[in-house]
Amino acid sequence: MTTLNELTLADARDGLKAKDFSAGELTKAHLAAMEKARGLNAYVLETPERALTMANVADTKIAAGEARPLEGIPLGIKDLFCTHGVATTAGSKILEGFQPHYESAVTHNLWRDGAVMLGKLNLDEFAMGSSNETSAYGDTVSPWRRNGSDTKLVPGGSSGGSAAAVAAHLCLGATATDTGGSIRQPAAFTGTVGIKPTYGRCSRWGTVAYASSLDQAGPIARTVRDCAILLGSMAGADSRDTTCADLPVPDFEAAVTRGVKGLTIGIPKEYRVDGMSAEIQALWDRGAEMLKDAGATVREISLPHTPYALPAYYIVAPAEASSNLARYDGVRYGLRVPGKDIAGMYENTRAAGFGREVKRRIMIGTYVLSAGYYDAYYVRAQKIRTLIKRDFEEAYASGIDAILTPATPSAAFGLGEKGSGDPVEMYLQDVFTITVNMAGLPGLSVPAGLDAQGLPLGLQLIGRPFDEETLFAAAQVIETAAGRTKLPAAWWA
């Protein structure tokens, strides 16, 4: 029998509407599952009292026939979204004890629509990482294991807590953010669906900033439809974020069943990288076949500047991070460590508060923005970004509706396996996802099969600006053809 927390978000919504169960019961099922799954370390903070209060309100609304779009739906919130009166850490020691007196635009929209907050989800510190191993609050463990192995695997990152919680049925869906792949890579690693919408689709107001020209919020959920439902509530215009688009939010859920008949899907040849595993290549081919079988035309395209996206990102993102993270100075919030003078206080605070990866990126950013290097590094990287975006514009102008690529170069790896000596080894995780952030486009990761060791693999769909609808339509075709991934037995409970 399916327990309440194993329902899809859409089924839970329908069940609540039909009064098959109450929002209180649905929330309690999740709180019980969360308690048993603490070993996964997906939540950095559980908020059961708030959850039950919100569920109570939801039940009153449902009884009165006033249910809102997400009435009574329990969600996990990546701990990068500021939540009023609830500690927000960004996975960093430097924000320990920080209690925002405001609510992020994205979470505000979810509560406006009746959703229930279960707690705050673990992440890489300041969203910098691809394995959730840079969090100051410990690693998140993936609910997935290789066949016949009990090696602990990473859930991906930076939205590792979000992906693990969704996959392990510890929420019906979760908020996440994506600066270089932080929604799509963990979704691919955990057999879940994640979408990074077009830059400007969701307001960044009240979300802790990493690299402002690349950061974008989006949902992770267990089905394409659930993702579409969540994005519909998260997105929307906001005058407080000058980069947030003044566009109406389409009916994303309606787009899910639209199909791909008549669409042209591009297969970028530059994504066939050296050393790509035969399994990933086969998955990619199968994905193309699924779309073809559903009536799409598949055509090879060229995005020639693809190889430069990752190195250009590691100039642009650290540069923006070094500016954004200058605010953690021991004066306004979070940690303060005394020093011999004010500069000493800044330096000691930041030395004690930031982890290694964050320090590395701030220092790279400081270097590339420093006198004498600005043109050689930063300006050049921004020019290359123009070229990357132009590649996509030319593909779309030639009649391509969406682009299909692998989501990650491999399935999930073990804790501690990557990046301990050379940080670049970890950065390569985002080789397929990072171009999308550099060009501001929407990108979605959908599970498409399992590898030989029984671990999920994902495919990525890339769309035109503000055309998330086509991505939902194409992803549903893949989800239907590939079948939804089934999680292994709950070994953690």
Binding site: Y308, Y314, M345, E347, R350, Y367, Y373
Partner: protein
């Protein structure tokens, strides 16, 4: 380009991050690995290419110059490590 130990200390100071002597060598290695990785950008022809300033083609939003919010001093200082009468307290800067 690569950085030497002196440059690592200078960057750390510019970034206002205290770095102990035994952290310098590992940081130098890590920063140089990243700089070696981004070196390949030098081979791209960027003649006549405008640097990206906005990823989406949109005009900057403007609003009338009026007070829209205020009166939140106690909210603003709520999380500060040290405050007095809604002011942030810092170590003495001017003698």
């Amino acid at each position: 380009m690569s950085v030497d130990a002196t440059t690592v200390r200078r960057i750390a100071h510019l970034a206002r991050i205290a770095v102990s002597e035994d952290e310098v060598a590992p940081l130098q290695g890590e920063l140089n690995a990243i700089l070696a990785f981004v070196e390949q950008l030098g081979s791209v022809d960027v003649t006549g290419i405008e640097p990206m300033t906005s990823v989406a083609p949109m005009a900057m939003k403007k609003r009338t110059d009026t007070v829209t919010e205020g009166g939140h001093a106690s909210d603003i200082v709520f999380n500060a490590p040290e405050t007095e009468d809604n002011y942030f307290l810092v170590p003495k800067v001017v003698e």
